[in-house]
């Protein structure tokens, strides 16, 4: 017995879940974000996301590691649309990590929520547990119409059917930056590792860097009073920090009944399948 406990102790690393080498963090300034979705396509290009096709889109099987969510506020003529890019929040207390029976998803020493495709057996529990719904399942082995496959990024695995995938904060770019830094025997500098979405963002709404470095751009951005975490009440300790849109409240004709009306609208939409014929289309 003592042998076993000794062995277990050997595996335990103090501070594994609290102190990270690098603590990769992203800030998304919603005041700058215009909802243009350049990040979405940049991600698709960088990470070999499949083209799922019209039929599977209708079945609700789109794959976008980062997406832009849209929320309406108010009604015509005082309507307003809000955008919020949603991607894997790389939570430090990730609900998905406890779920995976085979450790295909776990937390690593860079504060990243890792997803190991070749370990995944596809129970999809992590996706069910994820409150941000940013985990995507390979329902099929997706193929590219020849010669579209020639654009695939050789640094990223093409996933097969039956495995879960999600945003990696462009780990291939982080690894590359770390490689370069190691050659020069130094730490990765601010801005050297940039995920595809942050690189593409035309308004510089997305900023990426190491939170452990107090001088990094993200550390500075996180000090902003507008900073918040989405669904903070779930206590997931996300590594994606949003900066609230600073727009003034909508013109004030907002009455008491407004909220009820909104809810009614949501319920009306509820009865409606999101995908016209998802039931039959699947087979």
């Amino acid at each position: 017995m003592s042998k076993i406990t000794d062995k277990l102790r050997e595996y335990r690393v103090d501070g594994y879940y609290t102190e990270f080498d690098y603590h990769w963090t992203m800030t998304v300034d919603l005041d700058r974000c215009t909802g243009c979705e350049a990040c979405v396509v940049a991600c698709q290009a960088e990470n070999n996301l499949p083209i799922v096709g019209e039929k599977r889109m209708r079945q609700g099987r789109e794959m976008k590691w980062i997406r832009v969510e849209r929320y309406w506020d108010g009604d015509y003529p005082n309507a307003r649309l809000n955008f919020i890019p949603m991607l894997c929040q790389q939570c430090d207390q990730a609900p998905c990590e406890i779920a995976c029976p085979v450790f295909a998803t776990y937390h690593n020493q860079d504060g990243l929520n890792a997803q190991v495709y070749n370990r995944c057996i596809g129970t999809r529990t992590c996706a069910v547990y994820c409150p941000y719904e940013v985990r995507f399942f390979n329902w099929f082995t997706y193929t590219w119409d020849e010669p579209l496959e020639q654009q695939l990024n050789p640094d990223v695995t093409v996933r097969e059917k039956g495995v879960m995938e999600k945003c990696t904060f462009c780990i291939q770019r982080i690894n590359r930056a770390k490689d370069a830094a190691r050659d020069e025997d130094r730490r990765v500098g601010d801005g050297e590792a940039q995920p595809a979405c942050a690189q593409a963002c035309p308004t510089d709404a997305i900023v990426f860097g190491d939170r452990n470095d107090p001088d990094s751009a993200v550390s500075q951005k996180m000090q902003d009073p507008r900073a918040y975490e989405v669904l903070k009440e779930l206590n997931t300790a996300p590594s994606v920090i949003y900066l609230k849109n600073a727009r003034a409240p909508l013109h004030a004709e907002k009455d008491e009944g407004h909220h009820r009306e909104e809810a009614a609208e949501a319920h009306a939409a509820a009865g409606e399948p999101r995908w016209a014929d998802s039931g039959k289309a699947a087979s």
């Binding site: 690593n108 070749n118 291939q172």
Partner: protein, 185 residues
């Protein structure tokens, strides 16, 4: 009316033994396949001898596999690299294998070498950090300079499988060397 339990259970024991034999046999078969039947020594389009080039002539590995210390892949030399030397080596001209090389050269084609050491697509092995950390090429590829035709020696590197990587990373205490994301992404 009494029946010996051993007598009665005889078929059970026989059955169990048969099952054990099947399982043991399967392991033996799988091992044997890996050891002898798996093509560790594929026939290459040109009978290129590392023994001659790297062994006798002592050409450094990275003379031809020039990208090993810079890139994820070591790369195979271009036809031009081969021809560059062989143009001046009149003593071996006319040998059939050398003529094959010049055949490729004249047709302007690349040589379709068969991969000997290969990792699956979900493994992102990078040569650069290993070369820079001082790992000898032979550690993974075996004594290539002694091979007339390159072979993958399973006894040496366990068929380039993950336990072998892990062992080395553990021993050498590679920073985050056992993190899955080091190789799998």
């Amino acid at each position: 009316m009494s029946i010996s339990v051993f007598e009665a259970a005889r078929p059970v024991f026989t059955g169990l033994l048969v099952a054990v034999m099947v399982i043991v046999g399967a392991f033996v078969g799988h091992w044997a396949h890996g050891a002898w039947l798996n093509d560790h020594t594929p026939v290459q389009p040109i009978e290129f001898s590392h023994e001659v080039h790297a062994g006798e002539n002592e050409i450094p590995c990275q003379y031809c596999h020039a990208w090993a210390d810079r890139s994820a892949t070591a790369g195979v030399p271009s036809v031009e690299t081969c021809v560059g030397c062989h143009k001046g080596l009149s003593e071996v001209r006319g040998q059939p294998e050398i003529e094959k090389l010049f055949g490729y050269w004249e047709r302007g084609e690349g040589i379709p070498w068969v991969k000997v050491h290969d990792t699956p697509d979900f493994v992102h092995f990078r040569h650069k950090p290993h070369i820079r950390a001082g790992v000898e090429c032979q550690t993974c590829h075996g004594p290539v300079e002694e091979m007339a035709r390159v072979t993958r020696r399973i006894d040496l590197n366990q068929d380039l499988r993950m336990p072998w990587c892990i062992d080395c990373h553990t021993e050498e205490q590679v920073a985050n060397g056992r993190d899955c994301l080091t190789c799998h992404y």
